[in-house]
Structure formats: C-alpha cells, structure tokens
Amino acid sequence: MSYFFQLVVSGMVVGSIYALSALGFVLIYKSSRVLNIAHGQIIAAGAFIVYALTVWAGVHIIPSFLASMVITFFLSMSVERVFLRRLIGEPIISVIMVTIGLMSILDGLIYLTPFGSVNYSFPEFLPTTPISLGGVSISWTQLVGVIITAILIGAFSWFFKRSTIGVSMRAVSDDQLASMSVGISVPKVFGLAWAMAGLSAAAAGGIIGNITGLNFETLRAFGITVFPVVILGGLDSIIGAVVAGIIMGLIQQFAAGYLDGNWGLNGTADVLPYIILLVILLFKPHGLFGTHEIERV
C-alpha cells in the first residue's frame, strides 16, 4: 500500500511542477490568445540565472531566486515589446510561428553562455535526508517546490480575481475592443501577461533545475512536455492548469508504476498523457475548465 501512496505523493509533486510550468502558457493565452512555444527556453533561462547568481555571484539562494524571477519578468516583457507588439491583429498562426522563431533565438542566446553545452548542479542548500512518513518519502527540494508552486498559483488567482489590473486583463481576454473603449491599454496588458509568464517560468526553472540538475536539453524539453497539461486544463484556466497538472503527474507515476515492466511495456509515462488527453478532448472539447466560445455566423 505504501507503494501506492508513494506514487500518489510523487505524482502530486511532479504534477504541481507541471502546473507551475503550465501557468506561463495560460497567462499568455488568457490575455492575448497566443500559445508561446518558446516557454521552455524561458524556463531554462530562469534556472540558469538562479545558478549564475548563487554560484558565480555568490548571492544567497533565496534572494537570487527572487532576482531571477524579476529578471525574467523584464526579459519576457521586452520580448513581447520587441517582437510581438507589432503583430497584434495579425493571424494567430503567424504569431505562434514568431514564438517558434523566438525559440530558436533563445536557443542561440543560451548556447552563447556556458550553460548551452555544460551541465551544472545547484549547491545543496536543503537537507538531503528525505522526510519519511509510513514508507512514503518526499525530498526537501520537492516539498519546497510544491510550497512555492502553491504560493504562486494562489497569488495569481487572487490577482486575477481581485486586483484592478487583473480584472482589466480578464476584460481584455474577453473583448479587446470593449476594454479599449473603457480605457484599458491593451498592449500594456499583453506586456504584463508576458512578464508574469516569465516570472512563473523562472520559478518553475529554479525548482526543476534543483531536481534534475541544469541540463539545457532537459529543461527546454519542458516547454513541450507540459502541452497536454495546458490543453487538458483548458487553455485559459489557472485552476485548470493546477488540476490538469496533478492529473498528469498522477497518470505518469501510475503508468510508470503499474504499466512499465509488465506486458513488455516501457516508457508509457511519455505517451499515456497524450492518449488520455485525446480521450478527454472527445468529451470536453475545451478541456476540463476552458471557456466555451460562443460562435456566431
């Protein structure tokens, strides 16, 4: 039974990291209807900045974690300003294509740094002995990761529900023309959405980097890995990202725990999320929590 609970706990931990990574997609999509394919690169950049600050500049991990979030906040905002501002109103697929090009650019920029080709790992700042309870264990890194995720997601939900800027962002996603007419600056909202996505990416990067070590390939692959999570949750729902993230985390752990190694199956954790995604989409075409669009001729 402890095997089952271990899978549940691991699944929840992985799931919450997925949720945090998926958050970046959701934030951008929610306001500007753009799917940012280059998100994985921003996650990687966030992780590398944390490392550079802690190890090379000698800053303590907590301030450098925060600083990294601030840096990617502005990095992401300037990406929006420079590359995407011009494209407001262009066909959505061109904009998505621009993010694909952006992916290539960020790849190139990261190859300029040592991180592109060399692997690093974070210094251990948390106890290495795991917390164990009745045969179920969780490492400190994972626990801290889950806590940060919970705080960030809570903060974003509050921001969209209660704060004036958050409400105006929701207004923009609903109807750009109408929100402009009441004095909301649409370009500013887009910039802010990108900036916040960058911030969440840095947090995700910092956590993943602590778990897997800093390998560029692994980190950037994350941008693609969380696609099914984003879609399953519904592209524009924060709570959807959380629920879908945890579902996917659990599915993967159960697949690895109960399917792999039996009947000659292997690596099912990589493919099962997509199969389940397809099945769910057949019944819920807008994901679990996505907004149903009302279409008119």
Binding site: L87, I105, G108, L109, P228, L277, L278
Partner: protein
C-alpha cells in the same frame, strides 16, 4: 478592353470560366513553361555534386509534404503540429513492407511507383483517422490533438520491434529501364522522380482548388457555421482535408525513404513538424507558390546559417560558443523579423511582383 492577353493591364474577366483558368495570361503560361523546362534540363548543363543534389532533392520532398500541410493548415485553417508524423507514416509504410518481404523484393525495387502511391494512400487513411477529432475540436485544441498523434507515432515506432524500434530500416536500390540505379546516379535519378511527383502534385492541388471540393475547404476555414448553412458538412470537410494532407505527406515520406535508402524515426519527430509548419508559414499560408517558396527559403536559410557559423568559427576564439550559437540565433532572427514585417509570407511578395507587371504602366 484588351483582347490581346499579352498586353492586358489588370483583370478583365467576363465569365467565371475565365476567372477559374489556371493561367490567367499567356505570359503566365510562358513563364511557367520556361520555369518547368529549366527545372528539367539544368542538370544536363550544370554539374552538381552529390551533396548539392541531395539538398535539392530534400527541398523538393519538403515541397510535396508542404503541399499537404498547406491544404490542411492554409486552405482549411486547421493547425497541424503533427505533419512529420504523417510523412513518417508514408516512410514507414514503405520501410515496413521492406522489413516484411525483404528490402530487395521485386515489389520494392521494381514496382516503386506503386509503393509510393500506396504510401500516399496509407498516409491518407491515417490522416482521415487523425482528422476525426476535428469534428468536435477547434483551433489550438485541435492542434494539440495532432501533436498527440505525433507523440503517439514516435512512441509506437520506438516501441515496436517490427519497426526495428526506430533504427534505420534499409530499402534496396531501385531499378529503372536502364537497370539498377547505382550510387553514382542515385541522387540524379531521384531528382527526376521527385521533380515529376512534385509537379504532378502541384497541378493536382491547383486543380483541386478550382473544384467544388477545394472551395469547400476555404469556405469551412473562413466560417464553418456559414459553410454549414450553405449545405456543406464542415466536419467531413475537415476530415477530408486531413486525408488529403496525409496523402501528400505519405508520398513525401516514401520518396524520403527511397532517397535516403531507409527510414529511421529521427527524421519524423516533433522538431520536423515544426519545421514543416515554418515552411508553410514563411512561404505563405493558403497559397500555392508559398508551398514552393517556403521549403526553398527555410532549407536555404538553414544551410546559409551553417556556412555562416562555420565561417565565423574560423576566426572567432575557440573558447566561445559563438559559432555554435550563431546558427539557431540567425535562423530564428530571420524568421521572426520576416514574420514581423511580412506576416503573409513570401507568396505575398510574389503577388505584389506579379500585379506590378500586370498593372503596368498604372500603379493600381
């Protein structure tokens, strides 16, 4: 009214037949004929190295694949992030047959045109199957459904021993009237096969768009509810768009397998799907010249960036990764800048250039 089409300034259609013509003017027809002829005869005048022939063949295969992608994404408006998987289906139809009956079986080496066609049809069947969610899904949700197909495809190929778990499955050398096509003539021979296929496919697409079925695609893209009201079936149209895309992709896949003399899963990954999408968009979605220009532009850009980084590597200090970084950096920058300033793709330049000549001496 100008009766002499050679000197027509502007469009003067008096019947629908006239508007639906493939070649609007005789100049068009002349240029197209010249273009085709030059494509067919240049290898006899210019000596191209194996490597250059390989690159050119590769571009032409991508052209065939992008026809399909442009049909589904450009004309029918359904974003597909799994096109490389369809190409893979075609490639593995051929490779799978080779594995089942031996890579030098008569069917593979002599009846290769048939094999290419069969691969196309298998691609179409899979395309239709993957298109089924399009009955219910829209926009990015549908795009992710195709992404799922991509992932499931890669995993299956990697998992099944029948497909050699993704390792190269070899395909024998084919025979032509003159006998076995050896290493020396390999790329030369396939250049013509691929060129003929590309031309036939191009004409097929052009003609398709003049028919009811082609216009149906565009109607569903522009507004599927309105199309529904006009008596078309949007769901079936989308499925059939995917089937068409699958067909072209399948043909491209079989050509790929023959030219590379085998199929391995590395050529059909998500990365390639994204590159196909880049080709279609940079070329110009929903245009036929775009399917031609896009692959040429992207592949040339890739090669030029490779040259650039190699050249930079000769004088940059070896400690820096600059030469390595230059390739993705330059590639991404060109694409991003291009789309920022010309989101409608290269086909738009082609259109502007044509209308300039057509309207001359007037400005518009």
């Amino acid at each position: 009214m100008s009766t002499n089409r050679w000197f027509a300034t502007g469009n003067f259609y008096t019947t629908y037949e006239e508007e639906q013509r493939i070649f609007k003017t005789n100049v068009d027809r002349l240029f197209f004929a010249l273009f085709l002829v030059s494509l067919f005869i240049w290898p006899f005048f210019i000596e191209a190295s194996n490597r250059n022939m390989l690159v050119i063949n590769n571009i032409l295969i991508a052209v065939v694949a992008v026809y399909g992608l442009n049909l589904v994404t450009g004309f029918a408006g359904l974003i597909s992030i799994g096109h490389a998987a369809f190409v893979g289906i075609g490639a593995y139809t051929l490779a799978g047959t080779a594995r089942a009956i031996g890579d030098n079986h008569v069917l593979i080496t002599h009846a290769w045109p048939l094999m290419i066609l069969i691969s196309g049809f298998v691609g179409a069947v899979f395309g239709a199957f993957v298109g089924l969610p399009a009955m219910r899904l829209k926009h990015l949700y549908l795009a992710i459904a195709t992404l799922s197909f991509q992932m499931i495809f890669t995993w299956t190929i990697n998992f099944m021993t029948f497909f050699n778990q993704g390792q190269m499955i070899a395909v024998g050398r084919v025979f032509w009237i003159t006998g076995k096509v050896g290493r020396k003539d390999h790329y030369f021979f396939w250049y013509y096969v691929i060129l003929v296929t590309a031309v036939i496919c191009g004409l097929a697409v052009r003609n398709l768009l003049r028919t009811r079925y082609g216009r149906c695609l565009v109607a569903v893209r522009d507004n599927d509810r309105a199309a529904d009201a006009m008596g078309m079936h949007p769901g079936l149209t989308k499925v059939y768009a995917f089937a068409l895309a699958g067909f072209f992709a399948g043909v491209a896949g079989a050509l790929h397998t023959y030219m590379f003399r085998g199929a391995g899963f590395e050529s059909f990954t998500l990365h390639h799907s994204i590159i196909y999408l880049a080709m279609a968009i940079v070329g110009g979605l929903g245009t036929l010249p775009g399917s031609l220009l896009g692959p040429v532009a992207i592949k040339t850009l890739e090669l030029q960036m490779e040259h650039l980084s190699e050249w930079a590597g000769t004088f940059l200090p070896a400690t820096m990764n600059l030469a390595t970084a230059l390739r993705p950096l330059g590639f991404g920058l060109v694409i991003v800048l291009f789309l920022m300033f010309e989101p409608r793709g290269m086909a738009n330049w082609w259109r502007i250039c044509r209308s300039y000549f057509k309207l001359w001496p007037f400005r518009y």
